[in-house]
Subunit: 143 residues, 2 copies
Amino acid sequence: MKISTRGRYALRLMLDLANNQTGEPVKLKDVARRQGISEKYLEQIIAVLNKGGLVRSIRGAQGGYLIARDPSEYTVGMILRLTEGSLTPVECLESDTCCERETDCVTRILWKKVADAVSQVIDSTTLQDLLDWQGNEGDNYVI
Amino acid sequence: MKISTRGRYALRLMLDLANNQTGEPVKLKDVARRQGISEKYLEQIIAVLNKGGLVRSIRGAQGGYLIARDPSEYTVGMILRLTEGSLTPVECLESDTCCERETDCVTRILWKKVADAVSQVIDSTTLQDLLDWQGNEGDNYVI
DNA sequence: TTATTTCCTACTTAATTGATATGGTTTTAG
DNA sequence: CTAAAACCATATCAATTAAGTAGGAAATAA
């Protein structure tokens, strides 16, 4: 039940871009240095974010990447689903058709509840929320 | 973010035991046949459940396994954590100490929320709930 | 034109997982 | 006593994933 590095790095990448908005495009090399992630690995990840329209790329010298929209317009779910794939706890939930085994279908109800609970969190949290948490992390633990 | 077969099979195993309570111990061979899972694989899984005290084993001829307690006393979380290990979306949540990287800690808040959401579901669902769902699955989809 | 940067394809390497198999030992009902 | 079961330890083997590497093509600001 682990989130892979792809998704985690994608999130940090987006956060890094958001944190370094100056109007100038942000170089992947700099993100890699700041985040301590291999540039080549980040290249693979940002390619997905780019195709998905989450970032804008500017090629050539002095090029780099820009966040395409306002941080409040990105949900964490958008970023994770793009880079991680589905996020459901079992394959079976991806298709409409239930499996042949009846017993499975009982557990399917459970997996659906788990999936919904995860979605509820990631689809209601935006990149802006993460940025807001940065200042006063402590407060968020007081629940 | 997938649950592995170990956890899924463990759940089906417990359900099978619950569904076949006659007072007689249930043979693993029969569970394997009913569930279409290799007996040897189930052997590995039930060993964990046995050590965890979730099932009772009766050795020797005509032996088998019995559910140790009432189905309402098992949460899905108990079964999954035993067989799957932690269930948190990131390693980092398993220890108290946060990682060195600050950016990570922002996302940690998010991962914590995801973990809590998952726990909320699996720790409040019992084996008895799954049994109840078996009769009238349709109803549960009407939410 | 040149250096910088994105973009693209393919390769690698290690670890993990899924599922099963091999080959027993021990317990116990009948 | 015998067969049926749990128990136990290892091994296998393919597939997948994780995390990167390598090397170069295309675009572009300076």
